[in-house]
């Protein structure tokens, strides 16, 4: 296959749909801030993409096919706050504007072909999978609570205390 054929093939693939770092064509890509119905102390961002999706923010990830991913960003606190309190309190709602830039949890559903090269994980996958990744800096303290049982209503709480901010 000569270079012209490679360019034609690449153009055909790109024209079918493409998104990079969660930005892409509206018809094939959707991003939204999720707001749980009940208690929420976190920032949640969900995106759905069809076609090619490339993510270079934490290593290098490329997906061909369908991918749905939800990022949960924690609220950064200056003391050792505890999410267990949210279990007893009704209607806590705060989407932090100053949320940590590192998500504490990433939920992924995907179908197709993907290659992933990140600081903690590298691999190639073909098929369908669902993956929940919980991540925290080893020096940080955190509490996380989430429930999506329908009878209870969705609740999410993610609080992180950074080591340098502890008193």
């Amino acid at each position: 296959m000569n270079i012209k054929n490679y360019i034609l093939l690449l153009s055909a693939i790109l024209s079918s749909g493409c998104s990079i770092n969660n930005k892409g064509f509206p018809l094939l890509y959707k991003e939204e801030i999720v707001e749980p119905s009940k208690n929420n102390l976190s920032k949640q961002v969900k995106f759905t993409s069809f076609g090619i999706h490339i993510d270079t923010r934490s290593g290098f990830i490329i997906n061909f096919g369908y991918i749905k991913r939800k990022y949960i960003y924690p609220l950064v606190t200056s003391n050792d706050s505890d999410c267990s309190n949210i279990l007893d309190s009704a209607h806590h709602k705060k989407i932090p504007s100053d949320a940590d830039r590192t998500p504490i949890k990433i939920v992924t559903n995907q179908a197709g072909l993907s290659g992933e090269f990140s600081p903690t994980f590298s691999g190639v996958f073909i098929g369908y999978r669902t993956r929940n990744v919980f991540i925290s800096e080893a020096t940080n303290s955190f509490t996380f609570y989430q429930s999506n049982f329908t009878q209870l209503g969705e609740q999410t709480c993610a609080l992180v205390t950074k080591s340098e901010e502890k008193t």
Partner: protein, 118 residues
């Protein structure tokens, strides 16, 4: 083919360096999966597979790995249809909670009773 294997090996060795993050992964898959994790944890699977694993950063002598306390309830209906109720604490809050039996029991009751409450 050799150059692709070499490329994969190089990318893996560069990006899979030791991390300062605690990572906890739950994964269900159907298909072909070839992967390499930190500290040389490799995997090959074909067909249905379910994995639960954690990557804990190395500590020097005298240091403790991160304290972790977790209470979970999961109801799985299909690969992408599951109801989850979970509480996870790491670091100081986990150590503090672990010493408070009453607080842990309260958490367990709340998590396990979720779904039955309104």
């Amino acid at each position: 083919m050799k150059k692709y294997v070499l490329l994969f090996t190089i990318l893996s060795s560069v990006t899979s360096c030791s991390s300062k993050h605690l990572v906890y992964v739950q994964e269900s898959s159907f298909g072909l999966n070839v992967s390499v994790g930190t500290e040389g944890v490799s995997k090959f699977s074909l067909g249905y597979d379910r994995d639960i694993f954690a990557i804990v950063p190395k500590k020097t002598d005298g240091q403790d790995a991160m304290s972790l306390l977790s209470v979970n309830k999961v109801v799985v209906k299909s690969l992408d249809d599951m109801s989850i109720s979970e509480f996870v604490a790491g670091g100081a809050p986990a150590a503090k909670l672990a010493q408070d039996t009453e607080a842990v029991n309260k958490l367990r009751n709340k998590i396990y009773s979720s779904g039955g409450e309104k």
